[in-house]
Structures are given as structure tokens and as C-alpha cells.
């Protein structure tokens, strides 16, 4: 049986202060993990309340105004506080330097500053909840957002500040990947998770400033009555939508690309198989990143934009499907003739394939202009993006979390409970959102507090699904927290993986590796090396 290394990053220094002032990317990663977990729990509670309210038409637990605040907060918290920083800032922060054989990220101080900016932004968002709250939807569409009462300025300011955190993380990662790879690690010997973080970082750096300035203009619109987005003063509310989606559509790929990177790692590791189409997967990330800047108008087919614009945006949107499809087929080909074990992380990778396939294919209905007219702003859209964001990103995040958990804490969770929890989340998710596809097709508009009787049954299914998911997450919290204290020591490479983070102890020492690292084999050389599991 392996035992815990005596000196590691968790135990070398102790006390709260040693954490709050740390420059160690691993500790910062763990602090991010705590932050995003709290945010996810908060957003999840909002989601459960929304579903509970929608169990029956009319009032169940809250009034219309509170309901509108709940779905706004669910969206804003999940997007700005959980899913954007989720994989890059928490898991990426911990793993990236380890995967590169580096001792830290390029700018450790900036890394810590990003975390503090994140916490400050998060607190500001919480303040907005208690100072009038926000009922605009997370999209802050004008002129509603400039007219409604509530703490819109505080919330948008929070999102603005969180944007800086995201920019700094992206900047840090780009420089780290360029400059801190271990000797021998050429660009095409990098693990695919690193490639995906690189593509993500580029979008973070290029798109987030535009969101920043858009939110500044929105704040000034409210405070000074600038007139830029306000139709009563000669401004144009649709201009806000263009500005907003110019960031927020690429932001969707900030959320999904790192998830795809994790899936590449999981599928290769648990099939013990060289990844199929390494370059195709790496380049398809950049294909997606590039196209992501050119498709924002597909959110606006019904906004009265010109037919020409809709045509171009629809056409380009379809070409997001090609690189995404390439990735999926490459993962399938990787499974072929592998040696596949169904540990919990792999279960998540397989449910990703299932759910992301649905999420991606339903995107076709929305990219097609004629069918989008009917489906736009209905529950079909809600279900579609939850299949991509939850079925894709969150499931991959959970897969990555279970994959690297033994590296982070040095201890293993209970595999049986983990499988039960993964199954509950998978089943609960499908029950919740398949019913939303159906009622969306039948015309149920989104953001409705109450609804016609014909949608009652589907809403009922959806709410029951949310409880199943809730139970799955509850079990997960219990066995994960339990494992930190009581789990059996994991050993340095429990899964038999060939990427570099498994060559150091679990948990790693503060300096990451015992000496200077040098690349001795590629990340996926399963045809040359049988990795030791220990």
C-alpha cells in the first residue's frame, strides 16, 4: 500500500495566512476550487428553487418578482462565478504547470491577484443579491436593464471585475505554455488538455475586454443616462445585444474547450491507448476558437437584423459543428482496440460523449434559421445549452475533478459511492432536460413564471429530475469531503497515466517535482510504455 509523502504542498506550511498569501499555483488552484464549489452550490440551490416554483402553474413558493431574480442569479452565478473560471482557474491552475514539468505558472503573484479579484467580484455579486437584487436575466438586455429597479449596477460591476480575473488567468496561462515547458516538451508533445487551455486563454484574452467595455457602457447608461443603448435618447438597444454576444458567444467556448481537453486526457488514460488524431484534436480547438468570434449574431435571428446578417451568421455557425464532430470521432477511434477500464472519471467521460452528442446535435436545429425562428427563446434553447454547458462542461469538470482528486489531496474517494453519484447525476440530468426539449418544441417560452396547463406534466418531470440530480450531488459532497480526511492514500499514479503530473508524488511537493524535469516520453505513448500503476 502506498503512503502519503511526508512533505507536500498541503503540509509544508500551515495556517490560514500561509494559504491566503501563497504564490503556489497548487494552493491557488485549491482555493479556486473552494470558491467555485461554493458558487456552484449557490447556483444549484437557485436552480432547485426555480424548478420547485415551476412544479405547478402559478405560485408555489415565491412570487413573480422573486422568481425573475432567481433565474437571473442562477444564470449569473453559474456563468460568471462557476463555469468560466471552473476548469481553467481551478483544475487548470493546479494541473497546467505539473503537466508541463514547470515549477509554477509564469506570474505567481498575478495568479494570486486573479484569485483575490475573483473573490472580490463574487462578494460584490452576493452584495447585489442583498441590496435589491437583479431581475434582468444574466444577459442584461437593454432597455429593460436600464429601466428596472434593483442592484443592476452592482451585479454588472461584479461581472466586470470577474472579467479581469479571467483575463489575468488567460494571460498567465499563455505565457506559461510558451515559456515554461520542460526541456524536450515540444509543442506537439504537450498533453491535449494544455492545448485546450491555450485555445481557451486566447479567447479569454481577446473577448473579455469587449464584455468589460460593454458592461462599463451599461453601467454608465444607468448612472449617467448616456443614451447609447436607450431608444428614448436616440440609442439602440440591439447594439447592446451585438456587443454582449460578441463576448458571450466566444465565452461559451471558454466554457467548453477546456472540458474537451479533459475528455481527451480521460479517454486516452482509461483506454490505455494513444490518442487518435492528436493534431486534429489540437487544431480543432483553434478552429472552434476562431469561428467562435464570427457567430455571435445567431443569437439574434429574431431581433430584426438584416437577412444577409442572419444568413452569414447561420452559415458560419454550422461550421462550429465540424471541428466539434472531428473531436468526437477521434475520441471514438481512441476507444477502438483500447484496454478500457470503467473507473469513475471514465464514466464521466462516457456520459460526456452521450450528453454532448445531444447538446451538439440539437444545436443544428438552432443554427438553421427557419427552425430557429420557432425554437428561439423557448425551453428548447434552455435544454440545448444545458446539455452543452452541464452535459458537456460540468460533466467534464466532474470527470477531471475525480481524475485529479487523488493528485490534489493524495487520497482516494470511495469508488462505489462515486459511481452511484455519477449515475444519479446522469439520470437526473436527462429527466430534467429531455422534458424541456419537448415542451420547448411545443412552444413553451423561457423565463416564464407561470405557464399554460398543457405544459404542466413536462414541468413536473423536469422538477423531479432536478431532485435526482440534487441527491447525486449531495452524495458527491459527502464522499469527497470524507476522502480528504479518511480516504486511502492514492499513490503517485493511481490510474496508470503517462502525462507528467503523475510522475511526482500525490500530493506533490511545493516545488512540484523532486528535481528539474525533462521529457522522457510523449503524453500518450501507450504503444511503447506500460505505465506503472502506483
Amino acid at each position: 500500500m502506498s503512503s502519503m509523502p511526508e512533505k507536500n504542498y498541503l503540509t509544508e506550511k500551515r495556517g490560514l495566512k500561509s494559504w491566503l498569501l501563497t504564490l503556489d499555483h497548487k494552493r491557488i488552484g485549491v482555493m479556486y476550487l473552494i470558491g467555485i464549489s461554493i458558487s456552484f452550490a449557490l447556483g444549484g440551490i437557485f436552480a432547485l428553487l426555480i424548478r420547485l416554483e415551476l412544479l405547478n402553474p402559478g405560485r408555489d413558493i415565491v412570487g413573480a418578482q422573486t422568481y425573475n431574480q432567481l433565474f437571473t442569479l442562477h444564470g449569473a452565478v453559474m456563468i460568471f462565478l462557476f463555469i468560466i473560471p471552473g476548469i481553467p482557474a481551478a483544475l487548470g491552475n493546479f494541473v497546467l504547470p505539473l503537466m508541463l514539468g514547470a515549477k509554477d505558472v509564469a506570474f505567481p503573484r498575478l495568479n494570486l491577484a486573479s484569485w483575490y479579484i475573483y473573490v472580490f467580484g463574487a462578494l460584490l455579486a452576493v452584495v447585489s443579491i442583498f441590496t435589491g437584487s437583479v431581475d434582468t436575466g444574466w444577459t442584461f438586455y437593454t432597455p429593460y436593464s436600464t429601466q428596472t429597479s434593483g442592484a443592476v449596477v452592482t451585479m454588472t460591476l461584479a461581472a466586470f471585475i470577474l472579467g479581469f480575473s479571467s483575463i489575468f488567468t488567460g494571460l498567465n496561462f499563455i505565457v506559461t505554455i510558451h515559456k515554461l515547458r520542460a526541456p524536450g516538451m515540444t509543442w506537439f508533445k504537450m498533453p491535449l488538455f494544455v492545448w485546450s487551455l491555450y485555445a481557451t486563454a486566447i479567447i479569454q484574452v481577446l473577448a473579455t475586454p469587449v464584455l468589460g467595455i460593454t458592461l462599463v457602457l451599461l453601467i454608465l447608461e444607468r448612472v449617467l443616462g448616456m443614451g447609447i443603448f436607450d431608444p428614448a435618447m436616440g440609442g439602440d438597444p440591439v447594439l447592446f445585444q451585438h456587443f454582449f454576444w460578441f463576448y458571450s458567444h466566444p465565452a461559451v467556448y471558454i466554457m467548453i474547450l477546456p472540458a474537451m481537453g479533459i475528455i481527451s486526457e480521460l479517454i486516452s488514460t482509461f483506454s490505455h491507448k494513444r490518442i487518435f488524431g492528436y493534431r486534429a484534436i489540437a487544431f480543432s480547438s483553434f478552429g472552434i476558437a476562431f469561428i467562435s468570434f464570427l457567430v455571435w449574431g445567431h443569437h439574434m435571428f429574431t431581433s430584426g437584423q438584416s437577412e444577409l446578417a442572419s444568413m452569414i451568421f447561420s452559415f458560419l455557425t454550422f461550421f462550429v459543428a465540424i471541428p466539434s464532430g472531428i473531436k468526437v470521432f477521434n475520441w471514438l477511434a481512441t476507444l477502438y482496440k483500447g484496454s478500457i477500464s470503467l473507473d469513475t472519471p471514465m464514466l464521466y467521460a462516457l456520459s460526456f460523449l452521450f450528453l454532448f452528442a445531444i447538446g451538439g446535435l440539437t444545436g443544428m436545429f438552432l443554427a438553421t434559421t427557419a427552425t430557429d425562428i420557432h425554437l428561439h427563446d423557448t425551453y428548447f434553447v434552455v435544454a440545448h445549452f444545458h446539455y452543452v454547458m452541464f452535459g458537456g462542461t460540468v460533466i467534464a469538470f466532474l470527470g477531471g475533478l475525480h481524475f485529479w482528486w487523488p493528485k490534489i489531496w493524495g487520497r482516494m474517494y470511495n469508488e462505489n459511492w462515486a459511481k452511484i453519484s455519477a449515475l444519479l447525476v446522469f439520470v437526473g440530468f436527462n429527466v430534467t432536460f429531455i422534458s424541456q426539449f419537448i415542451m420547448g418544441i411545443k412552444g413553451m417560452p423561457r423565463r416564464y413564471y407561470t405557464y399554460l396547463d398543457q405544459y404542466h406534466r413536462m414541468h413536473g418531470f423536469s422538477t423531479i429530475g432536478s431532485w435526482i440530480m440534487g441527491l447525486g450531488f449531495f452524495i458527491m459532497v459527502v464522499y469527497l469531503v470524507h476522502s480528504i480526511y479518511k480516504g486511502r492514500p492514492a499513490g503517485s499514479n493511481p490510474w496508470g497515466s503517462l502525462t507528467m503530473e503523475w510522475e511526482t508524488t500525490s500530493p506533490p511537493p511545493t516545488e512540484n517535482f523532486a528535481g528539474d524535469m525533462k521529457l522522457t516520453h510523449g503524453p500518450y505513448d501507450y504503444d511503447k510504455i506500460v505505465p506503472r500503476t502506483d
Binding site: 504547470p97 514547470a102 515549477k103 509554477d104 505558472v105 509564469a106 506570474f107 505567481p108 498575478l110 483575463i167 494571460l171 498567465n172 499563455i174 505565457v175 510558451h178 515559456k179 515554461l180 484574452v205 481577446l206 473579455t208 475586454p209 469587449v210 468589460g212 467595455i213 460593454t214 462599463v216 457602457l217 454608465l220 447608461e221 449617467l224 443616462g225 448616456m226 443614451g227 447609447i228 435618447m233 436616440g234 440609442g235 447594439l239 456587443f243 516545488e511 528539474d516
Partner: protein
Amino acid sequence: MSHSKDRPSYLAHHFSDPAQQSDSAKLGMWIFILTEILLFGGLFVAYSIFRAWNPDMFYNAHKFLDVKMGGINTVVLITSSVTMALSIRSMQLGRKKQTIGFLVATLLFAAVFLVIKYLEYSHKFHLGQLPGKFYTFTGVKGNNPHIFFSIYFVMTGLHGVHVIAGMTVIVMMLVRTMRNRFSSEYYTPLEMTGLYWHLVDLIWIYLFPLLYLIG
């Protein structure tokens, strides 16, 4: 972890040599500058759109900007960029006193820029050429002239914030220079500050003609 004697004190533990450290800093700074350009990019887009929609109003409104003051400010800012560059040059040659002198000069020019900006602003405040709903001036022909002044104040205001941020960083550099933190071997932070200051200058070089000259 080996702490060999050839590791200079300014080299952070996770870099293997000074070249790697300074290359990283430069790459990081260039990326940051890119994000700054994109931040202003949003405003330039807003400017272009509203100008395209209201070309006459923009033309009429821009006449109320003071080209003389704006022009002086352009010269002041370009000069400050020169003194900033000279301060780095001096440090490369190891001349600490000269570096300090040029940094102080840069700060002074920046302050002059802000003073002139303040005079311009207060004149406009006085006339009621204010952004958005506070706009009370009546002398501009065309629809919604408040939008021109909204854009003017946001663009120059955000630029002003960048000038102040730049001055803060220059003061920090001044203190670190006086405390002998830099030498002819190591002056990366000074160099980065220079890059940032040139960016601030560059943005103004675009703002001035767009707002003051062509409207």
C-alpha cells in the same frame, strides 16, 4: 532545490535563467496591451456606429472641442513617451541619476496633460456639454448631440484613468530605482512600464484626430 551562486537575486525560483524571465514578462505585457486595445476597441466601434448614423451631428458637435488644447496635449504626451524611453536607456547604461530625472520629467508631462484635460472638462461642464441626460447645451445642430459628448467623455475619461494608472506605476518605478532595485542587467519592470506608457500615448494619438479633428 539548488540555490547555486550564479542565480541572481532578481531571478524568481520558477525560472531557469534571466532570459526566460524577461521573455515571459515581455510576452505577458504584450498580451496585456492587446487586451487594452480591445477594451478601447469596443468604444471605437461605438464611435464608428454612431458617427455613421449621425454624421452631421458629429461634425457639428466636434467643433466645440478645443483643437488647440488637444493639440498641445498630443505634443505633451508624445514628449513624455520620449522621456520614458530615455529613462530606460539610461538604466541600460547604468546611469541611475539620469533615470530618475527622466522618470520625474515623464511624471511632470503626464501631470500637465491632466491639468489641460481638467481645463477642457471644466469648460464643457460650465457650458452644459455633459454626457447623456445631464446635457443641457443647445448650440449643436442635429439629433441627439448628447451622444457625441457621451462618447467623448467615456473615451477621454477612460484614457484619463489609464494616464493616472500609468503615473502610479511610474511612481512605483521611481521608488524602486531610488532603492537600487534595477541595474544595467535587470530593468525589466522599467521596460514594461515603458511599453504601457507608449500604449497610453498611442491610444491618445487615435483619440485626438477622431474626436477633435474629424468628429
